[in-house]
Amino acid sequence: MVPISWYLIFAAALFCIGLFGVLARKNAIAILMGIELMLNAVNINLVAFWRYGTPRDISGQAFAVMVFAVAAAEVAVGLALFISVYRRRRTVAADEIDLLKW
């Protein structure tokens, strides 16, 4: 029997890996991937708490579904942004996209 803590630890690890990706990767698309990982970690937590807490009411899954929707939207817009940035500046390296520099 798997206790809930396993799921939580797993989710935390996944989250931190994703965070590392977000903070450290050069390529913007890779950063998006990191964000996806983080979102999934959150989802795991939600569902785990649903399953281990009160499976009678479905809120956990509902939230997870919402997260799916948000993730999809975020990826669509993000990728579109990167594509247009790439068109203008021929790069998608996050630290070269610094027009807002002083």
Binding site: P3, E74, I83
Partner: protein, 169 residues
């Protein structure tokens, strides 16, 4: 060490390994493929958690749509996708530090949480999460408003993406 614990550990190891490769592999396409793998692992976790619907949706949305989109984007920006050179930016040390510290903190907090060894309450028979979820998503006293909002958000994202990525001559 029951059989599902073994399964859990196997899948978790695979998923985390894939995730690590996602954030570290030099070739972005590989990163994307690894992302697919780890997302697949996560959907298996949903299966473990008796959330079959979520598992399948995970595959549909993430693997069927998001990952494909990412690969597309990578290929469209191909020139820089497989350029040699540092895959990390200058302050990756900080990133590692923060991630590790965060992980430590979270695990510490979890370990100090009373309900840590909680186990699954048994699912009663004739309980269909899919049906319940469906009802919950469209019933006014539950989640119909967030549901609609999500759909509007998706529509907006759709249009926004088209507008942003539009190539104007």
């Amino acid at each position: 060490m029951t059989i599902d614990q073994i399964l859990f550990i196997l899948v978790a190891a695979a998923t985390l390994g894939a995730a690590l490769l996602v954030v570290t592999s030099r070739n972005l396409i590989h990163a994307a493929l690894w992302l697919i793998v780890s997302l697949f692992g996560i959907s298996i976790f949903y299966v473990f958690l008796n959330a079959g619907f979520l598992a399948v949706v995970q595959v549909v949305v993430y693997i069927g749509a998001i990952a494909i989109l990412m690969i597309f984007a990578i290929m469209l920006t191909r020139r820089v996708a497989d350029t040699p050179g540092p895959r990390f930016n200058s302050n990756w040390i900080w990133a590692v530090l923060i991630s590790v510290v965060l992980f430590g903190t979270i695990s510490w907090i979890i370990s100090s949480w009373p309900g840590i060894n909680g186990t699954k309450p048994g699912l009663v028979e004739a309980f269909d999460p899919v049906q319940k979820l469906g009802v919950a998503l469209v019933s006014p006293e539950a989640y119909v408003i967030p549901f609609e909002l999500a759909s509007v958000l998706l529509l907006a994202a759709l249009i926004g993406a088209i507008i942003v990525a539009w190539e104007r001559e």
